[in-house]
Amino acid sequence: MKPTNDQLQAVHKALYKRSRLDALTTLNRNIAVLMNLNPESELSPNDVRNPPGSGPTWFIPATGAVDQFVVEAAGDCDKIAAALMDMHDDVGTVDFPAADKQHLQAAIAAEAASWTARGQIWRAPSIPDVDAANEQIQQHVRTALSESQQVSAYLKTAQEVGQ
């Protein structure tokens, strides 16, 4: 069953709330800075994290504790997950075909879960089993992708929403 134009607009309104998109963009940029993930950022020549975009200093050498920037970035992962779950809940209040709603909510929930997993892995004081930890994230990513493909008619690209 195809959604009506009114239903599509109602879903878009729930998904792409401007304040939430702005918050998500800010969180994403914070993470890129804290985790040194932007190759176009500027680092001091003496910064041990050179070259730009090559990741964070994960541990404090003197104590072995997880670096504060990483802990902060992990907190931002949690905030992204929370914002996505708000999006999930808002979509739940919209009246549109039930099967589509189920797929869309499943996609958003899985994307949120992938961010929660990243946060957990990043802040964990223990050494990760690299393959297992990555799989922990990617299983959610795969679900998000496969579920979202069922409801692509409801989704806009980043460019389309001006982010």
Binding site: R29, A32, P51, G64, I127, Q138, L145, Q149, V161
Partner: protein, 186 residues
């Protein structure tokens, strides 16, 4: 045995006694010549100072190991971008592209997104594991002459050196050679 003219140092005087006591001590001509030659060498050839005991320090590898982890991660992220597609670069909400993956998952780019994301996450997590190893004594599995290491391709010795960002310095002398120091002062 204490010779005439020397004072016996008490137990609290320290290993070498007070400096005034040492000044008062008699030195042989050979000792004096040795000391003068050593002083001249230190002022004339600053790079030939006795090497610090860095090579014996189990954490001397740390700086170079961490530096290498960044070079490896940078290469990994570049590889991830290459394995992804333009869709990956534009859409992924994570990593260098600063996109917004949670806004749209175009079916046409889904496979590339999955590959690219998995690749980026893997590089990140691997770097965490590598960083952890760098903090262990002897930096297990780290080879400064290995891929992306500070001495990659260097045929000479490669000695720990905290004076340089990469943490190691190629050196023609043995790292434990007490008469040569390739690290020097920055």
């Amino acid at each position: 045995m204490i010779r005439s003219g020397e004072r016996e140092l008490g137990p609290d005087a320290g290993e070498r006694g007070h400096w005034l006591d040492r000044l008062a001590r008699r030195y042989t001509r050979r000792q004096a010549l040795k000391a003068a030659a050593a002083g001249a060498a230190l002022t004339t050839f600053p790079l030939l100072r006795a090497a610090p005991a860095l090579a014996d320090d189990p954490h001397a590898c740390q700086q170079g190991c961490l530096w290498t982890s960044h070079q490896t991660a940078a290469a990994g992220h570049t590889r991830c971008n290459l394995t992804g597609t333009l869709a990956y670069l534009l859409v992924i909400g994570y990593g260098p592209a600063l996109g917004l993956g949670y806004l749209a998952f175009p079916a046409s780019g889904a496979a590339a997104i999955e590959v690219g994301l998995s690749c980026s996450d893997n590089v990140n997590i691997q770097q965490k594991a590598d960083n952890h190893d760098c903090l262990q004594p002897g930096c297990p599995d780290f080879d400064p002459k290995g891929a992306h290491g500070p001495c990659e391709g260097v045929m000479n010795n490669c000695c720990p050196c905290s004076n340089v960002l990469q943490g190691y310095q190629p050196c023609v002398y043995d790292c434990n050679d007490p008469t040569h120091d390739c690290c020097g002062e920055s």
